[in-house]
Amino acid sequence: MARSLEEALTSGKFLVAASLDPPKGTDLRHLGKLIKELKGGVDVLGISDNPCAVMYMSPWAVCRLALEQGVEPIMHLTCRDRNRLALQSDLLAAASIGIKNILCVSGDHVKFGDHPDARPSHDIESVHLLEAARALAAGKDMVGNPLAGSPAFCLGATANPEADPLEPQLIKVDKKIKAGASFLVTHPVFNIENLKRFMEHVRQSNIKVLAGVRLLLPEEVPKYRDGTYPGLFVPEDVLEEIDGAGTGTCVEIAGRLLKEIKSANLCDGIHITAPGHEEMILDLF
């Protein structure tokens, strides 16, 4: 069985995390293969929840697969698609099958996805979800009813060190920490100075931070420029480097950033994303 995320976060080791998207369908074979390939190379695997508002299988099923394969999962849980009742229900169900690590997110806007006419919920948001999960772990639902059996969670949230202005983000991060987050996974980082500025603020708390690194690809440059991916702010000089480059160069660029973040000794680990090209994640090392 893999070491728990909670233990890993306190071990002092520089952690490697990656995220996978569930399948759009019931076929888990490709995910099973990816999980097997990444096992041993990553400390923990995040499983996204309808990322960019595109409909996929719910992440709890893929988290269960990861657990069966001896890999520690982080289940992403978005507030966009469920109200406070369903979110608590899903938290309890996830806990009942051994999922402990939850990344609480408000969710990308529904307009980005393949169901733009869907009515988003946002009944509650990431801060409230953290509070709700913390309440469940303390044996009560979010309105104070006692539970018959309570979960144990390691709760996480997201933040964007590349945000401009940064100050409102920092106020929000403080609220997430106050609400119960014990680790942060950042949106992809490109500028070490921005990460440093972010870390100067969050270091005041005990929160563990996994800095985001994303494998960028040349055919996606127009999408990086036009804001297709919410929260992904790629600087122009990086776009120019990626534009027209080969895949190998793009892997090198991401790998270089990864090493820079690690050697700067700024944070507690890395969170790698490579949507559609997850088989390249380990090539970044």
Partner: protein, 225 residues
């Protein structure tokens, strides 16, 4: 104020097609201010309908009357002293949806049809432009957000924003749209009240919203309960 927009003309024409004697009932309050359903707009609509229906060989008499507002029974009932509502086969109301419904209630033996689509509660930013400002959520948080409504102005309605998608003060869904929480941050900073943003605003209490909602003033409770 309530902001509304006139329905497409073809849709209105279709609604009243077949009428022999039509009353266009205007409203002199919100919809007059947003140039959708006041006296002038009623006059324009009347001319357009007369012309268009005549071209289709429909013989229709179109009368116009604009009253103070259509959300108060006294003004609607008073209308019946200025025209004889029973003479008309269709009353085409250019009020907001609330007004259309009250006219339908008062004259519940008449066909009352809407000429407008009611869109939002908002303000005039300048001549000819109105923006939404309030969603009538019944649980106002403007005291905590420097007078900027996150329910209305934030695309996700976050009470503890911003999200990670805001960039250069713009919303992730539209680079032309301001991020409400960046506006709130700037306003609270200007007012020296950033401590309000540092507090976690609790989840919205949707139970305060009843559909349909009702308010009875304290002084009138005994009359209605």
């Amino acid at each position: 104020m309530i902001v509304a927009k006139r329905k497409p003309f073809e849709e209105i024409k279709e609604l009243v097609s077949g009428s022999k004697k039509l009353l266009i009932l205007g409203c002199g309050t919100c919809v007059a201010v947003c140039l959708a359903g006041g006296e002038k707009e009623v006059a324009i609509l009347a001319s357009q309908l007369k012309m268009a229906l005549t071209l289709e060989n429909q013989d229709v008499e179109v009368d116009e009357l604009t009253i103070e507002r259509q959300c108060d029974r006294e003004f609607i009932e008073e209308a019946n002293t200025r025209v004889n509502v029973d003479d008309y086969d269709i009353i085409l109301s250019t009020a907001c949806g609330a007004g259309v419904q009250l006219v339908s209630d008062v004259f519940d033996h008449k066909v009352v049809l809407p000429a407008l689509n009611t869109t939002f509660i908002g303000v005039a930013e300048g001549p000819g432009i109105w923006t939404e400002r309030c969603r009538s959520c019944g649980d106002c948080v403007l005291a905590e957000t420097g007078g900027i409504c996150p329910v209305t102005m934030c695309a996700k309605g976050l009470l503890n924003g911003p999200c990670g998608g805001a960039r250069y003060g713009k919303c992730e869904i539209d680079p032309e749209k301001d991020c409400a929480w960046t506006l709130i941050y700037n306003r609270l900073k200007k007012l020296g009240r950033l401590d309000r943003m540092e507090q976690i605003l609790p989840p919205k209490r949707y139970s305060v919203q009843q559909y349909p909602a009702k308010t009875i003033h304290e002084a009138y409770r005994r009359r209605y309960e």
